[in-house]
């Protein structure tokens, strides 16, 4: 589904990704771990198409096509979803309105008819029940005055509604208490499917207790320093990131 080869990315004057390669197939869950500043969030942003990042080398292919050619909204409609680390507030814009607009933009792109208001509400209420969200959320401004946990749940709700082919969750676990973490993890697990890939970007192993990854990659200095199965995360927890860095440099 996603093939990244030798990706080099700069922001401003500094090179963040220095030749990263990664391959993700449908049905797989990958966890990307690494210390602060290793390039985890950069990777997520580049896949989503953030314009502040400049790709200087390498290729990113998504479902066989050149992803870097596409605008951010085109990538989204093609099935890429980014769960933001810090979801932005958009005061005055109704949460339901944004969600419906997003859903219809995707449907239109795929030649489907717009979803009608009744169907939309029914679908949204179903998904919210799974996530333990109050339906009143729909009528509030997008992330306006939401707590940290509410913002993250809202991201998962959007993901559940949009049913992406590739979901990238950027530090979705940060700032969550244990109940919120469980609810978010349940939401993600409910979306695991043979035709869908999920990339979890996380600093801690904690999230992986609830969402079990197929592969774990450790990023160090802009490259994948080590890959393995879920036991790598546990080993990492025990030995710390220094161990990977030393191993990579050795």
């Amino acid at each position: 589904m996603l093939n990244i080869e030798n990706l080099k990315v700069t922001i401003g004057d500094s090179e963040i990704l220095r030749g990263l390669s990664l391959s993700v197939k449908a049905g797989e869950v990958h966890a990307i771990m690494g210390p602060n500043g290793s390039g985890k969030s950069t990777l997520a942003s580049v896949i989503a198409g953030h314009e502040d990042y400049v790709v200087t080398d390498g290729t990113v292919r998504f479902k066989g096509a050149d992803l870097l050619e596409l605008e951010p909204e085109e990538r989204a409609r093609e099935g890429i979803f980014l769960g933001f680390q810090y979801p932005v507030e958009i005061p005055g814009v109704n949460n339901a309105y944004l969600l419906k607009a997003a859903l219809n933009a995707k449907r239109e792109h795929h030649g489907l008819e717009e979803i009608d208001a009744f169907e939309f509400l029914k679908l949204a209420r179903e998904k919210m029940a799974v996530l333990g969200m109050d339906p009143k959320f729909l009528n509030r401004g997008v992330n306006e005055g939401f707590s940290g946990g509410e913002k993250k749940r809202n991201e998962i709700l959007q993901m559940a509604m949009l049913e992406p082919d590739l979901a990238i969750l950027d530090e979705t676990d940060s700032g969550l208490d244990i109940d919120a973490l469980k609810a978010v993890a349940e939401g993600v697990n409910a979306l695991r499917a043979p035709d869908r890939a999920i990339i979890l970007v996380t600093h801690y192993q904690r999230l992986l207790d609830y969402i079990e990854p197929d592969y774990v990659h450790v990023l160090s200095e802009g490259r994948i320093a080590r890959s393995g199965d879920k036991t790598l995360a546990l080993e990492l927890e025990e030995k710390g990131y220094e161990w990977v860095r030393e191993a990579a440099n050795a």
Partner: protein, 482 residues
């Protein structure tokens, strides 16, 4: 049938008989302004002596006045002697013959706004008698109104047929010498609307300039007078969401509203004059004086405006809250894009006891535009128990535009409660990226955020107008980002 309604009937018939387009085709006067020009205007309109005298006095007062310079707008000095004060409409020979000859860009805009086909021709100034379509509509309309006893006609007709009403109320809210542009308008006004709602009558429909035949040709110095007698109610819609082309750069309109005891006037405007090209060339200068007088107790005047057009807007719809318990409201969305300049706001003058006013102003600036809110709340010594709430929000799109707020408060009664809230926000790159990551295009994202910002004001507009206003805003801000 009353004489009033018979009279209305006869107007309708007469207009139809003559075909109004040829009716108004008269020669233009050469540029320049002196007493001779005013006499000529008055003569062309076959006005009575008292009307001419009123104009002449206004002109003499205007001569002694100077153009105001306090507004936060900049433009080249206007040469008042270079303007023709009685411009005949373009003759059919000069107009485009069909929509094929009209600027495709303009047509594209009409399309986006969902303007009906027959309307497009009229708006673009095509030389077909497009208003023909609306004649039958107008007839039914006039019948209904005359049954209710409502007078709704052009200002010229009112001068001819209802001189006692015009004499009584004209200039009673905006005196001739009120300000430079009002004085100019009083001297040379071309035409406009006159509305009178009799005692206790609830006007059976929303009055719209759209239905007033000839509305497209009121010219650059429009004059409107609306009188709501005791216990009556009227909602009036001015303007049109479609971009209006006009050969005349200077527009100086005057609107006077009078609400007697227990009466209510709701005045909604969507203004979309040509703002000029991206460099601001050729746009309309819009210097308007709008004022409502809550003359009787328990009366209410409500202004709602969506301002998107004009190169320069100078406009402060105001309420004089004279009657006890009277209510004044001002809801405004002002958009300035490219090189547009807007200095707009309101004045609430509290004179009666327990009067209250609400101001909600939403300013949107994009491109290199400058948008200023200027509002005055004055509570007179005798106005005990006065209340005001002002909310003034600015939204900036891009880095080169500006928003300015000039609130003035003059409170001379210790029992007054006056509140002022102001916010300034920006559409951030993060907000746009967030929306785009959800599959929503940048343009749609901007529209979504802008419409969310304006919601409170749009809610005040009559339903159909609100939908149009929303579409209009989207078109006005096209290309504002990126």
């Amino acid at each position: 049938m009353s004489t009033e309604s018979e009279h209305l009937e006869s107007i309708v018939n007469r207009r139809y008989e003559h075909g109004f387009v040829t009716d108004i085709e008269t020669e233009s006067l050469p540029p320049g302004l002196d007493e001779g020009v005013i006499r000529a205007i008055s003569a062309r309109k076959r006005e009575p002596e008292w009307m001419l005298e009123w104009r002449l006095q206004a002109y003499r007062q205007w001569l002694e006045m100077t153009e105001p310079e306090w507004a936060h707008v900049h433009y080249k000095k206007i040469d008042y002697n270079a303007i023709s004060y009685f411009a005949a409409p373009k003759s059919d020979d000069d107009r485009p013959k069909s929509l094929d000859e009209v600027d495709p860009k303009l047509l594209e805009t009409y399309d986006k706004l969902g303007i009906p086909l027959h309307e497009r021709a009229r708006l673009a100034g095509v030389a077909v008698d497009a208003v023909f379509d609306s004649v039958s509509v107008a007839t039914t309309f006039k019948e209904k109104l005359s049954e209710a006893g409502v007078i709704f006609c052009s200002f010229s007709e009112a001068v001819e047929n209802h001189p006692e009403l015009v004499k009584k109320y004209l200039g009673s809210v905006v005196p001739r010498r009120d300000n430079f542009f009002a004085a100019l308008n009083s001297a040379v006004f071309s035409d406009g609307s006159f509305v009178y709602i009799p005692k206790g009558v609830r006007c059976p429909m929303e009055l719209s300039t759209y239905f007033r035949i000839n509305a497209a040709n009121t010219g650059q110095f429009e004059r409107t007078l609306i009188v709501a007698d005791e216990g009556s109610h009227v909602s009036y819609l001015e303007g049109c969401t479609a971009p209006m082309r006009d050969e005349n750069q200077l527009h100086a309109a005057v609107v006077e509203l009078v609400a007697m005891e227990g009466a209510e006037i709701k005045y909604s405007t969507v203004q979309n004059w040509y703002p000029g090209d991206e460099e601001g060339r050729g746009g309309i200068y819009n210097f308007v004086t709008k004022r409502g007088d809550c003359r009787g107790a328990n009366s209410k005047i409500s202004w709602t405006q969506v301002e998107t057009g004009s190169a320069i807007t100078w406009k402060y719809p105001s309420c004089i809250l004279r009657g006890d318990n009277s209510v004044g409201e001002f809801y405004s969305v002002a958009v300035a894009n490219n090189l547009q300049q807007a200095d707009t706001g309101t004045k609430m003058i509290h004179i009666g006891r327990n009067t209250s006013s609400t101001i909600v102003s939403k300013g949107i600036s994009a491109g290199r535009a400058q948008n200023a809110y200027r509002g005055l709340v004055r509570v007179m010594p005798q106005a005990s128990g006065a209340r005001n709430h002002t909310q003034c929000d600015s939204l900036l799109i891009g880095k080169e535009c500006g928003a300015h707020t000039f609130p003035y408060m003059e409170i001379k009664n210790p029992t007054a409660k006056v509140e002022h809230e102001a916010t300034t926000s920006k559409i951030s790159a993060d907000q746009l990226f967030y929306c785009r990551q959800r599959g929503i295009s940048e343009e749609d994202a901007v529209n979504m955020i802008v419409n969310g910002f304006c919601k409170e004001v749009f809610n005040e507009l009559p339903m159909e107008f609100a939908v149009e206003a929303q579409a209009l805003l989207n078109v006005s801000l096209e290309g504002a980002v990126g």
